[in-house]
């Protein structure tokens, strides 16, 4: 017997999983919960739509497309931002 109300997914959890969903990396069970949440939540639906449009506009950039030098520059920038320049901790 299937649960008539599947395990709920919170909006926070959905936001954390949205990249994995885009990459097709979620398990079938999590993908079902993710998409059912979207049927119920207009806010998360809007978030997904914004993500989709951003990807359409900027094109697809996979991790492998980033050169080692650029990757190091980005990591350094993020590290500095968190450590001493007012960024979130």
């Amino acid at each position: 017997m299937r649960p008539p109300v599947p395990t709920e997914m919170s909006c926070r959890e959905l936001v954390e999983l949205v990249t994995a969903w885009h990459e097709g990396a979620l398990s079938m069970a999590d993908r079902t919960r993710f998409e059912m949440h979207l049927c119920l939540c207009t806010g998360c639906r809007g978030h997904l739509e914004q993500m989709r449009r951003t990807i359409e506009v900027t094109g697809r950039l996979a991790e492998a497309d980033v050169s080692p030098a650029a990757r190091e520059d980005l990591l350094r920038a993020f590290r500095d931002f968190v450590r001493g320049k007012g960024g979130p901790r």
Binding site: M1, R2, P3, P4, V5, P6, G24, M28, R31, T32, E35, M36, L38, C39, L40, T42, R45, L48, E49, R52
Partner: protein, 202 residues
């Protein structure tokens, strides 16, 4: 195999944004296929009748599935599918009526549970409410002892009024589970499926 597919406006996939080719001139739309070798989890998904309440969206289409078909818990997956025709009866009025049926089911389930718990005044207040606005007001006016049932009823009525049929159905199922356990929620989902099949002629 004939199944059903809920889509966003303009026959767009509600999650992927994929634009489904529509039927033209009384003929089904062209076939859409998952690329050869795609695992079934990434095939095309559609609903059996009992799956419908879980996936409500703005447009409902009759879809033909072909090739390999795999059934999963809440949907069915196929390697190929095409849209056959739009279910015109699933319109704004039907969405509102579906939501109202869920709010009424929630009202009755909550009233029965409150009565069983000795909250007779609260139960009578809910039972006396008819129409979505009245049900919402009655549920919102319940005291703390009548919660969380009252909150679910209010949610069902409020979302139904806003045309959010999926959320109204969800609230009614969650309430059923909360007051009478999982089998009651399953019965509520089955009621919703029957309602849709009857109203839409599926």
């Amino acid at each position: 195999m004939i199944a059903w597919k809920f889509l966003a406006p303009d026959a767009r996939g509600p999650f992927t944004g994929f634009r489904w080719p529509r039927p033209e001139g009384g003929r089904p739309g062209p076939w859409v296929s998952a690329p050869e070798g795609t695992p079934w989890e990434k095939w095309i998904f559609a609903c059996r009748r009992g799956d419908l309440p879980f996936w409500l969206d703005e447009e409902l289409w009759r879809a033909e599935l072909s090739g390999a078909v795999r059934e999963s818990e809440y949907q069915v997956a196929a390697a190929r599918a095409r849209l056959v025709e739009r279910v015109a009866a699933w319109d704004a009025a039907a969405r509102l009526a579906f939501g109202e049926s869920c709010a009424l089911a929630a009202r009755d389930a909550a009233a029965a549970a409150l009565e069983a718990a000795g909250e007779r005044a609260a139960a009578a207040s809910l039972r006396g409410a008819s129409g979505l606005a009245q049900i919402q007001a009655a549920a919102e006016g319940l005291q703390a002892g009548a919660q969380p049932a009252g909150g679910y009823v209010a949610d069902a009525a409020r979302t139904a009024r806003a045309g959010r049929a999926a959320t109204a159905g969800y609230a009614a199922a969650v309430l059923a589970a909360a007051v009478a356990g999982p089998p009651a929620a399953e019965r509520e989902r089955a009621r919703q499926s029957e309602w849709l099949a009857l109203r839409l002629g599926l």
